[in-house]
Symmetry: C2
Subunit: 583 residues, 2 copies
């Protein structure tokens, strides 16, 4: 079987993206490689004028994170020297190169490492000929902004016909920063219904429904999809391979580009399926254990990676998937470093965009991360360059080990939080009469009044639980609208003794249908908490539920100055973004 | 006299930029600042999962660069700790904050330092009320791309009327990467003639001529100007205050936004005026010595800064100047760090753009540079936090001293190169008959055949000399076109024994008029060279001129495969950009 060619996607490119000059510089290499040429041509500052002689860091060992026991605080020192002695650009890590103007694809050693990680380990089974290419980005917000620039034209109602209006498909509740990238361009956001896994392929509000029944009076049928498939933000679902195949087939049918934004990729929680089954008899989702990379092709080479749900890339026969990965959750958000994976012709266009926008991620972060992961440089004779650096660098094994350790740390927080949530969903009546009766009965569950205050699906990945607030069971439900009750509850939670701040569903509602029901949901993050705080804080949260369900009025829960009604705008703040650009 | 309000520029904003949601999050602060609130709302990873415990660097002292004597190689260690003990965000520099999601304006301590530098020292005399605001950028290419996104709409000939086409004014020879930002958007580039100082206000092809005689069949009269006013790339001019006032007045008359891109700001060379006067009797430019910050207002507080030509900001009564500054030449290009200065309403819109594109510069570079410049943190009791850090950080005095030292280093290279260029402009006849006669004369200059091979203006700033190749004096001028001769000469220079690679004028030609004459110019960089190489390399270059002027044919100088004709495309290469994104 020969691998298919990726499709030509140029009909999807925006006007400006089509216009970017093609590259034909390679023919010019010969002049720059003339031995002893005096280069008067370059516009570069002199490297002795970089004030930094070394960059150094104290770095965790990949084994630091031990989910099953105490973390290891040992650390090693990595040093980025002023000048490396190797001539091999894929191994040369030094400040003379890292702090100079570089290549838009990324710092060569880091680019080489990531390209190998992507092609051989993370996605060893991309079906199209030649496999995917990568380019480094300044994180996924940068990556998505470049993808939107590549694939969409701004639509201005005062100037353009409605038939020209383009649109982007997305989950009905999603990462609002992405929506804020789309909306100012005048694009339609076409929301697709979700379940506990993620986007629905079929059924009411599912992808087929949205595409088949597209109302052309709104503009063109959407040709780009924005999706978070692992640890979906905010709903916490993992999209399994069967659903991916259905959605991919629909994207083929309707010629849709899939932009897969995966900051939480390594945070997949197998225990969530087990715990859900333990408490509820069965998980609400099919377990993915038998559906991994190995089933359909080559192993990733690592049991951890093999255990993960495969990307849309693994079924991307046509090259219509653009995937965004980031170091924000695997190293740190302040890295502003990530990479984009797609078919080569798409990466080529994104390279052109990069050259006139970000140019390259900062050499400070690129070199420190390269040194940490690849490090331990040897010169061209095989001698170690930095004698001081006695400890081997992470390399591929250490990098994968680090990712696995991270997953463990977040998985434990998830389990702690969700166990408390699971065991406190119900408010039991305190009616002493009923309680007495109950004690005489064999099965007290049938007679004690119990009220379900909230529901949730165990998050199968990511950093959050998505909690449905059952205001329909509240004693005051006949007196106040569900929305009013929910908003009052949000304020109730912020009051003593609860002092809990949760993210209102409103800030993730991407379309009119989700806006209708947003008040029913809160997103509750476990990731940012200290591990020892998760259980007591979650207990405070469920105690907040209980006390609210016992309230007989909403006194003191009016937000007098109407400020809570601007919650959607919390995303859009003047820099101080309380929920984080990562929310 | 009361300071004028800056103008409302919103009629210049692009459709998408107008659409970006305004900020009203401040009203929400109260919930996040409730003491002991359990924050389930934030979408942030846990800082213990950042693998870096410290970031450290060996950093030059600001006094390292001693142009008049040997450079000082002493260096100090700066340490960015995992956690700082101060609560003051403008002094708190640590990895827990720097590597977390941050604010779009920039890392608070660095932002505070730069804001003070800009408002009190670099531009102490901005005339409008309240003064300018800043936001950090990922360097000037990023800054310009955001300015273009803010001020222009893409124009698509298949979709839009020609009357809707917008345009950008720029110098006729300019930094081509900026043009590559403009052109794919379908905008007109309207080139303005330059002289040794920079853009012409009046005269043929000057700004007034271009704006007054704008041909509306090309589209709207341009409403944005892109300009490099110090060390103009490639021509090396410094635009003096008198010319700035003329150009600013024209921009007021025609309602033009000025985007001032100043990577070379600190590299202003007073000695170029003196040297030019020494060799030629008078400088071709008026000397700027008596026109500095002090003349029209407050001192910058530093003699070095006071000696610089003032920015357009210093005369920006209406708030129509957007200035781009970068650490690329003052620290290192790989920093990908800079800042944008403009009136607050413009910075607010750029902040909105930043939130959905780059989010923030990398925390790695922001924290290391903050620690280097500001460093030496004290806790809230005034005790020094890092005992190890015995040496004081740079602070404002050290930062300005560093900039001055840089200027000195590049100024010396410029003087070395231009002295060789100045003394070898002429080819003297080797005719033995004529030589003999000459020796009998008092003034041998009058009778020896001499031919001027090139001309140049001493660069008053920046990193390059702009050399006019006088192919009109070449013996073969009647046999070959000037363009053909110049292209052959470019190849001749790359051959042994000359081995010189210069940047052809072609790659800086922004419009049809400059394309007509581009073959006459080469840009010759002194900045990237080792100081001891400048004189011998420049001698090789002038020897290349001499030997070409002695040629009797162009044998071997055909670029058979026509590759040299794609020189313009060298800018647009697949990442490996030979001339650097800085050219």
């Amino acid at each position: 079987m020969t691998a298919p060619h990726p499709l030509d996607l140029s009909h999807h490119f925006s006007y400006a993206s089509k216009n970017r000059s093609p590259s034909s510089v390679k023919s010019f290499y010969k002049y720059f490689t003339i031995p002893n040429i005096a280069n008067f041509a370059g516009g570069l500052p002199h490297p002795t004028y970089f004030p930094f002689d070394t960059l150094e860091a104290t770095v965790a060992r990949p084994q630091r994170l031990q989910p099953s026991s105490k973390d290891d605080s040992k650390a090693d020192r990595v040093i980025v020297p002023k000048e490396s002695k190797t001539a091999d650009p894929s191994r040369k890590i030094d400040l003379t190169t890292a702090l100079q103007y570089g290549t838009a694809e990324g710092y060569p050693p880091l680019f080489s490492f990531l390209r190998q990680f992507v092609r051989d380990h993370l996605h060893p089974n991309v079906p199209y000929e030649g496999g995917p290419e990568i380019i480094l980005s300044c994180g996924n917000t940068d990556g998505f902004s470049k993808a939107i620039e590549l694939f969409t034209n701004v639509w201005n109602p005062d100037r353009d016909w409605i038939q020209q209006r383009e649109g982007v498909l997305c989950e009905e509740f999603t990462y609002m920063n992405a929506i804020q990238t789309i909306r100012p361009r005048g694009l339609n956001t076409a929301t697709v219904a979700v379940d506990g896994q993620g986007m629905l392929a079929y059924g009411k509000g599912g992808l087929a429904d949205v595409l088949e029944n597209w109302d052309f009076r709104r503009g063109r049928r959407p040709h780009v999809m924005y999706t978070v498939t692992i640890g979906q933000n905010p709903t916490g679902g993992n999209l399994l391979i069967e659903r991916r195949k259905e959605i991919y087939a629909l994207c083929q049918k309707y010629d849709v580009i899939i932009v897969e934004d995966e900051p939480y990729w390594n945070l997949q929680f197998p225990s969530a399926y087990e715990m859900e089954a333990h408490y509820r008899g069965a998980s609400t989702e099919p377990t993915p254990y038998n559906r991994n990379y190995n089933d359909d092709g080559k192993s990733s080479g690592y049991a951890f990676l093999d255990s993960l749900v495969p990307s849309y890339l693994s079924i991307d026969t046509e090259g219509r998937v653009v995937r965004l990965d980031t170091f924000s959750k695997s190293v740190a958000p302040g890295s502003r470093l990530g990479w984009i994976t797609a078919q080569p012709a798409v990466i080529e266009r994104i390279t052109r965009i990069t050259e006139v926008t970000t140019q390259q991620p900062s050499g400070f972060v690129q070199s420190v991360i390269a040194e940490t992961i690849i490090g331990e440089q040897v010169d061209d004779n095989g001698s170690r360059i930095l004698k001081k650096q006695a400890v081997p660098s992470w390399r591929m094994d250490g990098w994968v080990r680090w990712l696995e350790g991270l997953r463990g740390g977040y998985e434990k927080r998830m389990n702690d939080m969700c166990t408390v949530l699971e065991e406190n969903k119900f408010l039991f009546s305190e009616n002493p009469e009923k309680s007495k009766i109950t004690n005489d009965h064999v099965d007290h569950w049938e007679v004690v009044d119990r009220v379900q205050m909230y529901d949730f699906t165990w998050p199968k990945g990511g950093m959050f639980a998505w909690v449905e607030v059952r205001v329909d069971t509240h004693p005051l439900r006949s007196k106040y609208s569900p929305r009013k009750l929910s908003k009052a509850f949000w304020i109730h939670l912020t009051k003593k003794p609860h002092l809990c701040l949760v993210a209102p569903g409103q800030i993730f509602a991407a379309g009119p249908k989700s806006v209708e029901q947003e008040y029913r949901f809160f997103r509750v993050a476990f990731a940012p908490m200290d591990p020892e705080d998760v259980i007591p804080y979650t207990r405070r949260l469920v105690e907040g539920f209980r006390s609210f369900w016992k309230r007989e009025n909403l006194d003191g829960l009016n937000d007098d100055d109407d400020e809570s009604l601007t919650m959607q705008e919390m995303q859009l703040g003047p820099g101080i973004n309380f929920f984080g650009p990562g929310c």
